[in-house]
């Protein structure tokens, strides 16, 4: 019970942290951020591995197998595609601002 409560506390604090992490992100980076966090939730692959490893029943084994495939595709595809996007986001050179004459 105590451990469950601690997990719940982690959940609440991590939620606050998630809210704080995203603030004043330039529009330009919305898509890469979405794509990278998308890759991060691919951590569900961990769950798929556990399910598959603990499977005693062929049905669960099959389901777990599919879950691992899904998770791995989410992780690898997510990080890969984000990287492809970001390669093209070289930082803009600071420009000397002109004053209105």
């Amino acid at each position: 019970m105590q451990e469950l409560l601690a997990q719940f506390a982690i959940f609440i604090i991590a939620a606050f942290l998630g809210f704080e992490l995203i603030s004043r992100v330039p529009n330009l980076l919305h898509t890469p951020l979405m794509s990278a966090t998308n890759a991060i939730h691919g951590v569900i692959l961990v769950g798929g591995m556990i399910t598959l490893a603990e499977a005693t029943d062929p049905i669960i084994r099959a389901v777990g197998f599919v879950a691992v495939i899904f998770g791995a595709a989410n992780v690898v595809g997510g990080f890969w595609v984000t990287n492809r996007m970001l390669v093209m986001f070289r930082p803009p050179r600071p420009r000397v601002k002109r004053r209105r004459g």
Binding site: G18, V43, G47, A53, W80
Partner: protein, 469 residues
């Protein structure tokens, strides 16, 4: 070992957090993505110790298949298809969460291990959220890839149907948890399977009515949902990296969705509950028959090569759909070869995905330092001779500044192309864009030239005309 795996999970979580932090600034974004990926590798290796290297062969095979699928698709996809591929990966994650919860339930039922209250709540929750995310993402993918359900598909009583479906899911979930106390005919496992199917249906019905143009926002929301599903499955499996990683994605995804919808001026509530599909209005307008200065590519080419010295290009959504980045770069090259100064004005919401235009143009070989954002390009217009607007409308529509009009784009900062000497639109018709607001500039026959053409073809013709001119 347990302590070590736990600490490895914490290190992975820390890397996720630091990664997201770094993704907030263009200079550090790429390293942020890499750090998060390193965190993922650490989490996966730690998990091997958690499962004590059981079923390694199957896991290895499945990971290999998934990785290859992911890597190949990620490498092959065109930059214009970014939103749908993100949707696809997201759906896979949601599906995985649902499947994991399903098998945990089945396992507990068949082995007969006493279910804790937590699992009783989180298992159906994970199945619900995961399945909605899976099905919703698939629909989003289908729409964006233009495979089916184009535009906004509405059906009667959709709110009522969705509500009923949701209640049904709750009842079935309660039935599963209570061991069949509510509908004795349905066994717990059968109930959970029905919950899964009904949730898939709900996901489909929720996303189908939403217009394709709102999809980036919907995908971001589904992304947050998958994060939540991962967190919920963490409670099911009592796994800390799932709880932490999932929660952070769930929470940050929610905020990101709000940021995106406000950057686009589209209230989230409207998108989800009304399925108002502004994109559907494009091309259906009933414009009055007002005259425009309709020109051909030759005239544009002539003006550019003979009269214009400083040219600003404003690309929009139409450039992306027409895949006209190549001809765009060609035009840049021929104009520069003639000694013209060419700049690109990139509005932050040009296109259908934030950052879309920058990515497309840079990929096609337009130098990054020619891309100016709104604050930097606006002061350039007064001494610009020609603005070429390719497949864009909203981002240059002066109606946004008109205090008398109340339009979806009212108050949005726009590119002040009016200040330039001449304005050249390359688009297929007089139809407005995403927001469905008519553009008074079209009808300014003194200033504006309208080249009615597909963006790609039109640009190619203009390139030829400049070369020969």
């Amino acid at each position: 070992m347990q302590v070590a795996t736990f600490l490895a999970y914490l290190a992975a979580a820390a890397l996720f957090i630091v990664g997201i932090r770094r993704l907030r600034r263009p200079e550090t974004a790429r390293s942020g993505n890499t750090l998060a990926a390193v965190g993922m590798v650490i989490a996966l290796i730690a998990t091997l110790f958690v499962i004590e290297f059981q079923s390694l062969l199957e896991i290895g095979a499945a990971v290999l298949i998934g990785s290859v699928l992911g890597a190949v698709s990620a490498q092959r996809v065109q930059m214009t298809a970014m939103p749908q591929v993100v949707a696809a990966y997201n759906g896979l994650g949601g599906g995985a969460a649902a499947l994991i919860a399903l098998s945990e339930f089945y396992h507990a039922e068949t082995v007969g291990s006493g279910e804790s209250l937590v699992a009783a709540i989180t298992v159906p929750l994970t199945i619900l959220i995961g399945s909605v995310s899976f099905a919703g993402s698939i629909i989003a993918f289908t729409k964006l890839q233009e495979l089916a359900f184009a535009g906004s598909v509405s059906f009667p009583l959709q709110q009522v149907v969705n509500a009923l479906l949701f209640v049904g899911i709750l009842v079935l979930a309660a039935n599963a948890i209570s061991g069949g106390a509510i509908i004795p005919a349905l066994s717990p496992v059968a109930s959970v399977v029905v919950v899964l199917v009904a949730s898939l249906l709900l996901g489909i019905l929720l996303v189908i009515p939403i217009g394709g143009a709102d999809m980036p926002i919907v995908i971001s929301l589904l992304n947050a949902c998958t994060g939540l599903a991962a967190a919920a499955s963490g409670f099911v499996l009592e796994n800390y990296i799932l709880i932490i990683g999932g929660t952070i994605v769930g929470a940050s995804g929610t905020i990101l969705t709000r940021l995106m919808s406000s950057a686009l001026g589209r209230p989230l509530g409207k998108i989800i509950f009304a399925g108002i599909a502004a994109a559907g209005t494009a091309g259906k307008g009933d414009q009055e028959e007002r005259e425009v200065n309709d020109v051909n590519a030759g005239a544009v080419g002539e003006y550019l090569s003979e009269e214009a010295q400083k040219v600003v290009v404003v690309p929009g959504y139409g450039l992306a759909v027409a895949q006209a980045q190549g001809p765009m770069r060609d035009l840049l090259e021929v104009l520069e070869a003639e000694g013209k100064e060419v700049l690109f004005g990139i509005h932050p919401v040009a296109g259908r995905m934030p950052g879309h235009m920058n990515v497309l143009l840079t990929e096609a070989g337009v130098p990054y330092d020619k891309l100016y954002d709104i604050e930097d390009i606006n002061p350039e217009f007064p001494d610009t001779d020609a603005v070429i607007i390719v497949g864009a409308n909203d981002v240059v529509n002066p109606a946004a500044n008109d205090p008398e009009q109340d339009t979806p784009i009212s108050g949005m900062p726009i590119l002040d192309v009016e200040q330039a000497e001449r304005v050249i639109f390359i688009k297929r018709s007089l139809s407005p864009g995403f927001a469905g607001v008519d553009n008074p500039l079209f009808y300014d026959r003194e200033k504006t030239m309208m080249l009615f053409s597909d963006a790609k073809q039109g640009l190619q013709e203009v390139v030829e005309a400049v070369k020969n001119g």
